[in-house]
């Protein structure tokens, strides 16, 4: 018999529906797996053991009474950026240590309404700022494929937990690649929805014009199932869109004949790990074998994405993080006067990368430099978005590598912030354009580390991206390989 934690989310749900599996047994199996592995991997910041088992028991009782909600009894875990009522939410930062929200994020409410069992909260780069999860104030999450390497970031805890079988699925957030890039480095399916598709209410803010919560799981079908529950308009988020939400799972037909697949030449550049390029090129031929039409395209402003993103996101972050003063929540360094108290609280509460980005953003927004930096970046953002608008007139999806390399070693990029920023070079453009993107595993390098394929789609066309990713997944077996743990 297959270990329960090896089942995909969809398989586990099916077995529960058939009465062959209880949520209590499944939840206990995940908690045991966490006990066995997490002292090494450090994917979790908080494990909600008792409430998970209570929720599982309630789910089993509900099912016995005929309840069949879409995620009834499914054990999931959440990046520690999502506000969870009465469950500590730190965002990976000391400045939120001990903070227990008095409300839950909309996506948490929706997942709970759908029957989720919450296993706990997952590690992340502090305030989602990072590409390796090394910027967490609490612990360094290890890559399940090689514990000497990073899981990617910033949703590294989410990616590692799913990859190692410590949750049936998870949610992360993606501001510049923080779902897709760790998805690639841990070898799982991971979707950044379009900006405005999933509510940001109750998600600790980083870059408000960029932040996208999204699902991470072992298969594209699982990802589609999770997206279904959380997608759609939320009156509490004025930037969530009132568009209809299609049936994502029903759209996974396996048929991509005639799909127009764009290959942008700007994503196959010097500096990319040769094995990554090779695996992605193999994946592209697989799409052709499945009947897709390959079209060479150009996204000419790609090279400007990194400076554009690293001006806009820190600028927005410097404004969003102004709220952390130790008065209403979080530890306070009380010095008897207002400004010294604020400055000490913030100076001690934020970590090095967060301070670096607050400084960068404050500078970019400051009088005399606004036009040269922030204003300039917003104009270039328009050019980057236009590149995609033009491309999607001719193609249905765009296929690229998700990251230029496989998982790097812990400590390898921490001394040089700019080198670390380059890990996001292939995920940043889609974030700036607000479109959707999916990572699916497409191979392994000679060290046995997973390689990720990025499938980008037009804004709000998650259905096509998921259909393409699912068809590719059906034709390959990369997704079914799991790390030896």
């Amino acid at each position: 018999m297959t270990a329960l934690t090896e089942l995909t989310l969809s398989q586990a749900l099916q077995q529960m529906r058939e009465g062959a599996l209880t949520s209590v047994a499944l939840t206990q199996a995940y908690l045991d797996r966490i006990d066995q592995l997490d002292d090494t991997l450090h994917a979790y910041l908080t494990i909600t053991r008792e409430s998970a088992l209570a929720a599982a028991k309630a789910a089993d009782q509900a099912r016995a009474n005929g309840d069949d909600r879409p995620l009834l009894g499914v054990p999931l875990a959440l990046k520690d950026i999502f506000s969870t009522r009465d469950v500590e939410t730190t965002c990976g930062s000391k400045i939120l240590q001990g903070y227990k929200p008095v409300f839950s994020a909309t996506i948490v409410e929706r997942l709970e309404a759908a029957g989720m069992v919450l296993l706990g909260k997952l590690n992340m780069d502090e305030f989602a700022m990072g590409s390796s999860t090394e910027n967490s104030a609490y612990s360094i999450t290890r890559n399940p494929w090689d514990a000497g390497r990073v899981p990617g970031g910033s949703s590294g805890g989410s990616a590692a937990a799913v990859s190692a079988g410590m949750a049936a699925g998870a949610f992360g957030t993606d501001t510049g690649g923080s779902i897709r890039q760790p998805g690639a480095m841990c070898g799982i399916a991971a979707l950044k929805p379009s900006y405005g598709r999933v509510s940001r209410y109750g998600v600790v803010a980083f870059g408000s014009s960029l932040d996208c919560p999204g699902p991470m799981a072992r298969t594209v079908t699982d990802v589609a199932r999770l997206l279904q529950v959380v997608a759609g308009y939320d009156p509490l988020d004025s930037t969530s869109m009132t568009l209809d939400v299609p049936d994502y799972v029903a759209g996974l037909t396996g048929d991509i004949r005639g799909l127009r697949v764009g290959i942008p030449k700007e994503y196959f550049i010097e500096g990319i790990q040769p094995e990554v390029e090779q695996a992605v090129r193999m994946a592209i031929t697989q799409f052709e074998r499945l009947g897709a039409e390959l079209i060479e395209i150009s996204l000419p402003h790609t090279e400007y994405s990194l400076p554009t993103y690293y001006l806009i996101a820190p600028a927005e972050a410097s404004a969003n993080l102004a709220r952390y003063d130790g008065i209403r929540f979080g530890p306070r360094q009380e010095l008897g006067e207002m400004w010294p108290t604020y400055k000490a609280t913030r100076g001690q509460g934020f970590g090095a990368e967060v301070k670096r980005r607050i400084m960068l953003g404050t500078y970019a927004l400051s009088a005399g430099y606004y036009d040269a930096y922030y204003g300039k970046a917003q104009a270039v953002r328009t050019l980057i978005k236009r590149d995609f608008d033009k491309a999607f007139q001719d193609v249905d999806v765009i296929v690229t590598p998700t990251a230029p390399t496989t998982a790097f070693r812990i400590g390898e990029n921490t001394a040089d912030p700019l080198q670390m920023y380059l890990a996001d070079i292939f995920t940043l453009p889609a974030s700036l354009a607000g479109i959707c993107g999916l990572n699916v595993p497409c191979g392994f390098d000679s060290e046995g580390l997973p390689i990720g394929l990025q499938i980008l789609g037009a804004a709000f066309d998650e259905a096509t991206v998921l259909r393409a990713g699912h068809a590719y997944e059906q034709a390959t077996d990369w997704h079914s390989r799991r790390p030896m743990l």
């Binding site: 008095v102 209403r328 604020y342 400084m359």
Partner: protein, 97 residues
């Protein structure tokens, strides 16, 4: 673009961040390096390009001005380190007159 230590201290003051002297030196070097890399944006002529603040086709979003159910005061102050009578306690905001 080279940032001096004094400029870094000025930015930290704007951002209300206490920095140690080591941090000032580190950020002066790192931010200078990053800003130098960002200079490549100046190669693009954007004089005719509208800035993008949001990718969504939204302007103002309105809702009815209806009262919702507020959180109870105890919940609002539950996470604060210093409170009194359901209020946040802070040090004096106004200096001596």
């Amino acid at each position: 673009m080279e940032l001096s230590h004094d400029q870094v201290r000025d930015i930290a003051e704007l951002a209300k961040l206490n920095l140690t002297e080591d941090e000032v030196a580190l950020y002066a070097e790192q931010l200078s390096h990053i800003l130098q890399y960002f200079e490549r944006l100046q190669a693009l002529d954007t004089s005719e390009i509208e800035p993008t603040a949001s990718v969504l086709p939204l302007r103002n979003v309105f809702r009815l001005d209806e009262a919702g159910v507020p959180l109870p005061p105890e919940a609002v102050i539950a996470n604060a380190t210093d409170t009194e009578d359901n209020q946040f306690r802070v040090s004096a905001v106004l200096g001596d007159a």
